[in-house]
Symmetry: C2
Subunit: 271 residues, 2 copies
Amino acid sequence: MAAVASVEPIDHDLSPSRAVRLACRSGAISGSTAGMAPGYVQGNLAVLPSDLANEFLRFCQANPRPCPVIGMSEVGSPYIPALGRDLDIRTDFPGYRVWKDGEVVEDTADVSGWWRDDLVAFVIGCSLSFEEALLQEGLPLKHVQRGTKVPMFRTNVACVPAGRFAGPMVMSMRPLKPAHAIRAIQVTSRFPAVHGAPLHIGLPRMIGVADLMKPDYGDPVEVLPDELPVFWGCGVTPQSVITEARPAFAITHAPGCMLVTDRRNTEFSVI
Amino acid sequence: MAAVASVEPIDHDLSPSRAVRLACRSGAISGSTAGMAPGYVQGNLAVLPSDLANEFLRFCQANPRPCPVIGMSEVGSPYIPALGRDLDIRTDFPGYRVWKDGEVVEDTADVSGWWRDDLVAFVIGCSLSFEEALLQEGLPLKHVQRGTKVPMFRTNVACVPAGRFAGPMVMSMRPLKPAHAIRAIQVTSRFPAVHGAPLHIGLPRMIGVADLMKPDYGDPVEVLPDELPVFWGCGVTPQSVITEARPAFAITHAPGCMLVTDRRNTEFSVI
């Protein structure tokens, strides 16, 4: 069917991803999007005034593993058509955090009232995309089996700084048996646009992680004697860097409250 | 230029690989082929009577990681044109071992006198192909830097048995820093026809390797505190399995004395 611009108010082409976004928009969904619309790419949010946005884009460009930008709005526009035809950045996440000078000033389900003509929205890929591929491969992910958050660590690996943005790389950790770890490296290497291959394996002290049971974010999972800790670049990195830069104004998604896009995870696989 | 069958006795199309083979044939080369004709695939040799050859092929088919067959002759034929137009299995290795009932009965540079109408030759890929790719990637390989043999271990991982062929998998080990290990997994995954990705990483006791400084074959290299031992399937496996099966007759290449083929290593890369 040819693609035709539509102005009809009712769209019967309700994909699972769009259904989630509309439910967020109406307030019917207000919590974590984990497990929703399987197969569709979910993304983190960072909204910054345009002067900072240019620096932030440079930061992401220099640090693609923890900060893979999968969509970006025009200055002042709350839309990113490449991620969903009628997607609205202001309403389609279940929850937001509004920041001023590095402090949260509001937790809200709708940032329409905060929108400004100078804002730029960044949607950043997250590990849910490659985790789906790992699970389809039959690789066990403990935090998924338990329904807990993946453990994340502030490492001693520095991001490449850009303008006012700098700081340590945050990495997520999944314990895997050696053969599974090798397979996981192969599988996630196919997803360079959503964190890609691991950044570290096996020797956590080398990246400044002294205690695997004390993650800086998320929930702990133990690494058994027949497992290796495998570390991937994590989308918490850009949030951590933004809050440390203390911008005069910023909006992020609330933890776990991601944007469900119309892009499929498989589209992000390079081979 | 169109490919035309030639019957001329003198061939001026002397590729580096063919030059090595002719030098082996004349006796000018009698030792290790390591480092010769860079870029060309080298292979191990196993020659068996046809009744055993069928079982051995099944064994290789069931164990492609340690036993990647890259070429095979017709019964009784000492030629494998797919690996080199004028290649002669009987003369083109620098050295051979002739086996009877599991014992070496001759070390020789020419097995023409031993050839029989019921023999089948297998050429099996070796790690030189993927090591070239690792070195081109800038990954340091200690045994190459030192000019020693890669350390190889008889692991507790059993090969899939087939007929009279069975036994433990032999793996070669290369110490690598974690980030290099991840890159090495990516690079060698592109070479499924020549051992492919590693089979183990990081926890050698899990595969029955108690002392990394005591390899069963090759020379030891130490694994430093900031390195992980990475293990690949090794072409010594089929030789080890053949000698344990004690066939009435067999021919193998002498250690380090490989066949240099006209195939290029890059041809074996899948992406």
